[in-house]
């Protein structure tokens, strides 16, 4: 048993002014949701399990963007660049290294590392060049579009790295899925229960890790930079380093999404770095409420699920309904849909209590 002061100090790590969900109520809810998520595969068929993994895959990129944009105030329009770089890296590495001895896991780490390195180089160029605001948005967008257009024309056989054909706009396929070395044979993580648990565990770890990060001194500084970079600098912070670190962490998460996506479908395409793909994370994050990790995660999941089911059931009206939902959400829920719902719930309750 944890004694109460230990528990309080752990709570202090993951809670703070930078995250909305706080207190025993929230953590009880969190626990319940987590239990539900753990139990889910026992009640769902394998398609649903795999499909949920697919949704989970994107959440890392969304949380990374929440960190960079919602917390740090830097609107990166090009997170898909890191998604793509990591996805292609994973493909190239695994096709060349194969999937024995847990080499896919090494490839995962390397691919995320490559996207982080790329983010570090680009971020150095951006933040040490004092590029901010829309300029940052357009530069990052340009980067992802350059990658998209470049990769789209790598159809010819000359575009190969080792055994891996880049394969142009058609996309690269046939890379092995992630595997976990295990006694008596590797476990291959197809989109099914095993992958579900691995992804879920990663999600929980990343979510809690980011909560700790944003509620730390580091987190204080990045929101300060969002609010007033000059003031933050005049308090003695080297804001460029903080911005760079934020950008690298957020982009590595986009990279993680890229790897998981690539492994999930054994496929990565240049279109995943194109204009539409680049806008999507921004929409997800904005709909949920970008300045909070929890709302970002819930909002993103909601948009993904709703959009997919609309596409399945809405025939040609799906896109119209999606568009209308987005417009209405922005108009009626200025701080994002999740915060609006929470507010509504609170007001209800206080009115009931007041009436009682």
């Amino acid at each position: 048993m944890l004694d109460s002061s230990r528990r309080a100090s752990i709570l202090r790590l993951v809670e703070g002014p930078q995250t909305m969900g706080r207190g025993p109520g929230f953590w009880t809810g969190f626990g319940l949701v987590l239990l539900g998520a753990i139990a889910y595969p026992f009640f769902a068929d394998s398609y649903d399990v795999g499909n949920n993994v697919y949704f989970f895959n994107w959440l890392f990129m969304a949380m990374g963007l929440s960190l960079i944009w919602g917390y740090g105030g830097a609107l990166s329009f090009g997170q898909t660049a890191f998604f793509g770089v990591a996805g292609y890296s994973y493909g190239v590495l695994t096709i060349n290294l194969g999937d024995a001895y847990g080499l896919t896991l090494l490839s995962l780490v390397l691919a995320v590392g490559i996207s982080a390195l790329f983010a570090a180089i680009l971020g150095y160029f951006l933040f040490f060049g004092r590029i901010s605001g829309v300029f940052l948005g357009i530069v990052t967008l340009s980067v992802t579009l350059v990658l998209e257009r470049f990769m789209a024309q790598t159809a010819g056989p000359q575009w190969a790295i080792g055994a891996a054909r880049l394969n142009g706009f058609n996309g690269m396929g046939a890379m092995p899925s992630l595997t976990i070395p295990w006694f008596g044979g590797d476990i291959t993580l197809y989109p099914d229960v095993a992958l579900y648990y691995v992804t879920l565990a990663l999600l929980v770890v990343v979510y809690l890790g980011l909560r700790i990060l944003v509620n730390s001194r580091f987190g204080n500084v990045i929101v300060a930079i969002r609010e007033n970079p000059m003031r933050a600098e005049m308090l003695g912070y080297d804001i460029r380093k903080y911005q760079l670190a934020t950008f690298v962490i957020g982009s590595a998460l986009a990279g993680l999404s890229g790897v998981l996506y690539t492994s999930w479908g054994n496929y990565i395409t240049p279109a995943s770095m194109g204009m539409t793909a680049a806008s999507l994370p921004i929409v997800w994050v904005a709909v949920g409420g970008r300045t909070d990790l929890t709302t970002t995660m819930i909002g993103t999941l909601a948009v993904l699920v709703i959009f997919q089911s609309l596409t399945i059931h809405g025939s040609q009206y799906a896109l119209i309904v999606m568009g209308a939902l987005l417009v209405i959400t922005v108009l009626v829920a200025p701080k994002g849909i999740v915060i609006a719902l929470v507010d509504l719930f609170r007001r209800r309750r206080s009115r009931q209590e007041g009436g009682a």
Binding site: N220, V223, E227, N228, R231, E233, M234, L235, G236, Y237
Partner: protein, 238 residues
């Protein structure tokens, strides 16, 4: 040795010569006021010291080290701190968070909370601790920013019109606070148009006019100077 010294400091904006060959020295422990007409270049001079603008020529020395080209944060880390003319705060963060960010540098987490409460009390912002700083009144924002500047425990505190918008009593209290800090070793350089405040705190006064040092001396000497009255003070009864 001077804690802050500028040598032949120059800054132009297009055709406008805003700072012209300014040689200025500030002694450790001094309380110094910088006055001068609107547009004289006082705020620009501050921005040069802080590195928000880079000078066209000349040198800035702090504690003997050349900081002419140093990055703003490096200057702050050497012990300078500033309150701007236009309040610079973190608008969407609470008053408390604003102070946290200023204090977390050098205050251990254990005492951070107490320290913030003390400061809030002192700034008369205790009731507004959880308010978004952007929603404070104009004067309250000024207080908050002074609080953030002081929280860094600087060796040299730069204040650009710290008492603008304060009542006479508040102005006086601010002066008294600065005197306390000064007694504890802080050097203060303040830009002000409020002569009562200048009289209260300044050991020395420098008048800047058209980007050049126009006059220097004690407040009594300056007030007695008819040239200063002509360009700046008018028929003052300060």
């Amino acid at each position: 040795m001077a804690i802050l010294e500028t040598r032949q400091l120059n800054k132009r904006f297009g055709g406008l010569h805003v700072t012209g060959n300014v040689d200025f020295a500030l002694q450790p422990g001094e309380m110094h006021c910088l006055i001068g007409p609107n547009g004289a270049g006082k705020s620009t001079f501050f921005k040069l010291i802080l590195g928000e603008h880079l000078s066209d020529s000349g040198q800035i020395l702090y504690d003997g080290a050349d900081i002419t080209r140093a990055k703003p944060f490096e200057r702050i880390r050497r012990g300078i701190s500033v309150k701007f003319q236009v309040p610079g705060i973190f608008r969407e963060l609470s008053t408390r968070q604003n102070l946290t960010i200023a204090l977390q540098h050098h205050v251990s987490p254990q005492v951070l909370s107490e320290e913030i409460d003390r400061l809030l009390e002192f700034l008369k912002l205790a009731d507004d601790r959880d308010k978004q700083a952007g929603n404070l009144s104009h004067g309250q924002k000024q207080w908050l920013e002074i609080g953030m500047a002081v929280a860094l425990k600087p060796q040299l505190l730069l204040l650009d019109e710290p008492t603008a918008g304060m009542t006479p009593d508040e102005t006086y209290a601010t002066g008294a606070m600065l005197q306390d800090l000064n007694r504890a070793g802080m050097t203060v350089l303040a830009v002000e148009h409020d002569m009562a405040f200048v009289r209260q705190i300044a050991h020395q006064v420098t008048v800047l006019h058209l980007g050049k040092i126009f006059a220097q001396g004690t407040i009594d000497e300056i007030v007695a100077d008819e040239r200063v009255a002509a360009i700046y003070l008018g028929e003052s009864d300060a």
